[in-house]
Symmetry: C2
């Protein structure tokens, strides 16, 4: 049998992000089907190859993992900024969300997927409404995702009453089971919008189907106060009292935590997603990420919805994460570039329960690979690739992207979406948003 | 006489950044020679035009002003990161700087100018060694600059003893007097590296020639402690006691200030340059910018040297500035997008003493103009251009740039420099740096 490969990437420095952070200069990545067949310095040239990609002497690394977003909120980007949180939500975001439909979420998610692929993200975790549309749009664009319908005590513009919400959540699990790109989670919104019975039921559904639970926790001080007042406990203690803490639980934000709560998270192997830009922009606070990592907690990184960011560029998110904790702790050595890049790759994948499948370039793993062009003034000369990726590079330095063995971007050209059409639909939806919100 | 224009920009929304923040949708900018002849909605089409630039429905705004950098440090980007300040300086930066020469600084500054033009910056303020080379490189690349040789108590790799340093500083003033792009400042390094007599003498030279003084002030807590110990006063009080405070004084960083010091700066109309990314990365602290602005102080924004950033992209700097003060003050309404964009344009120009010449698009001002392409997923749809520029855009969304009436970038192609040659020279210099520092 003659060896055959679907894609071979040549002429780049490979940052594998494996456990040893192995690096191969002038290495190659061989892809067969949806998987990585060879990563490193080959002992022979691949015999038959359908497609050869030139990394142009740049960097080859795992596709980035956006651990928390609300993709369709791309249609609300810049709609309102620099406002107190409740004014932003009540006067702009909620009125717009109340008028949304399936087509709106589909169009917004395609827009977000275009931006994410163009900035090097290959996997995202989403929480929103009409989430079946998010799964469809992600699948269409060729992106890997973990998605779930948001559940809360009040009626939803999608499913109506919560009983229907659980039906919808279960139908997502059943519909997308076994899909190569789409995974489903159960996603109660937060502790202050979900009564204990909802949280327990959501958790039981997740355990039944062996899928993750995704939830916002301890994002703001007012949330912490509210949970303490309602339940006499801090947020993570409340989750613990409900028996929900566990390795299947992914909590977003985790800004305001006591030492005891951090130890609970570590003990129960709960996963944390850090969203520094959103936490800064909404003036929520600074999450104690170095402390959590010190306790062994797996931490990924996310952009949050781009209405509170306002972009989906994980390179910018990494840069800010590294710097924010330095100035918070007044320690320039904390959260070094490699640590932060691991949050966006190997650790981010582990946080989403995908650590065996993606997050590093190792034979047998799914082929989610990006190539960064370094022949640019802001990336020349190069002493340390990790430093350049975190502190100097931006999303549009990524030139090629492969997800699950499929080439989705080549030379910055999106291959899975008609970009012109995606932008046209987005502008049409924005006209509706203006009518709903700004021209009232 | 038939009207003639050298460059006409059409088909964009003009953000003038004038005092009223006037905006013209589908406006035009007419350039004649080095100046703006018309900005807004024309009442007739220009009759003769040498060059028409299409803004493609995007944004037309003043070129950005980088208020503080050490351009040639682009050759040290990523050489060492995530280290305690003194280890970074003593083991990496100082040993490399000790070996530098004129050619090194020229090559490094060209690299920096390429990056700055490609990311929308048209003016920069520099402090470094061999500063005549910085002026030459800026002039060659077509950039506007305010530069000055760094002066301090110890010997310099450029001029040797301080007496020669003052001669060099004066020669720069005389050599570049009247140059359309290059302005000179007198630049004592800092209060902890310059004895009072040096500071007074530098200030007197600046006053004699009517040029600014540029100096690092109150960047770190240890600097404040050192100045208090040496002089019994805090840094700005020390400057005040030396009689140096005044509208010609530009202080970089201004991180650690007492209320009394802020009032002194306001009273004496001292200018401040904010460098949030460097202050975060080196764990220096967070400057009290909203407080300074509340007192009426003119504040510009800078990247600092890109070895402590690690890029020269003012779009990223604006984004971080807006967010950092929100999370510091826990007020999401502080430092809105327009305020921050003004720091990088009109206020930045005023901070450098160039407020009458540049910083806004108004007839009679010099033609320093950039065009941002908004037909991209991360800038679509657009509800608010200021929000997009600060929170969503990145330097490489800038497509055209004009400085002093000269087209320096068109469709992202640098017209003033041979980029391939600039990158090649940078890589050669990096080989030397590796020998000097990493391979010892």
């Amino acid at each position: 049998m003659v060896e055959q490969y679907d894609i071979v990437i040549k002429n780049g420095t490979i940052l594998t992000m494996d456990r040893e952070n192995s690096v191969f200069e002038d290495g190659q990545v061989w892809v067969r089907g949806d998987a990585l067949a060879m990563v490193g310095i080959p002992d022979h040239e691949p015999v038959r190859t359908r497609k050869v990609l030139d990394a142009r002497g740049g960097l080859i690394l795992p596709g980035l993992v956006n651990g928390h977003t609300h993709a369709a909120m791309s249609l609300f980007r810049g709609l309102a900024d620099d406002l107190p949180l409740m004014e932003w939500l009540n006067n702009y975001i909620f009125p717009a969300e109340g008028r949304m439909d399936t087509d709106f979420v589909h169009a917004g998610t395609l827009l977000a997927c275009a931006e994410m692929i163009l900035s090097g993200t290959t996997t995202f975790c989403d929480m929103y409404l009409f989430e079946d549309q998010v799964a469809r749009a992600a699948s269409l664009s060729g992106m890997r995702c973990l998605v779930g319908e948001v559940l809360y005590d009040f009626n939803s513009p999608n499913y109506g009453e919560i009983e229907k919400g659980f039906e919808y959540a279960e139908s997502l699990i059943l519909k997308w089971k076994g899909h190569p790109l789409v995974s489903i989670a159960v996603e109660p919104h937060s502790l202050f919008t979900c009564r204990p019975s909802l949280l327990r039921r959501a958790n039981n559904m997740a355990l039944k189907y062996n899928v993750p639970v995704v939830i916002h926790v301890a994002e703001t001080l007012s949330e912490v106060d509210q949970i303490k007042e309602s339940y006499g406990r801090r947020p993570v203690e409340h989750l613990n009292s409900l028996g929900i803490l566990g390795p299947h639980l992914i909590i977003d934000h985790a800004v305001h935590l006591s030492q005891a709560e951090m130890e609970l998270l570590a003990h129960h192997r709960v996963k944390v997603i850090h969203n520094p830009e959103s936490n800064m922009k909404l003036a929520s606070g600074i999450a104690p990420i170095p402390d959590l990592m010190g306790l062994g907690v797996t931490v990924g990184i996310g952009t949050d919805g781009c209405a509170s960011n306002n972009n989906l560029d994980l390179f910018a998110e990494m840069d800010i994460a590294a710097k924010l904790h330095k100035v918070k702790t007044m320690d320039p050595a904390i959260m070094d570039a490699l640590t932060v890049l691991r949050m966006a790759t190997a650790e981010g994948a582990r946080a989403l329960g995908m650590g065996r499948m993606i997050g590093s370039l190792e034979p047998g793993k799914r082929a989610d690979v990006i190539v960064v062009d370094t022949h640019k003034p802001h990336l020349t000369p190069m002493y340390n690739p990790y430093s350049h990726l975190v502190y100097s590079a931006r999303g549009n330095d990524v030139i090629h992207s492969i997800i699950n063995g499929r080439l989705v971007m080549e030379d910055r050209r999106l291959l899975t979406l008609d970009l012109k059409d995606v932008l046209k639909r987005a502008r049409e939806k924005a006209s509706a948003v203006r009518r709903w919100v700004l021209d009232r």
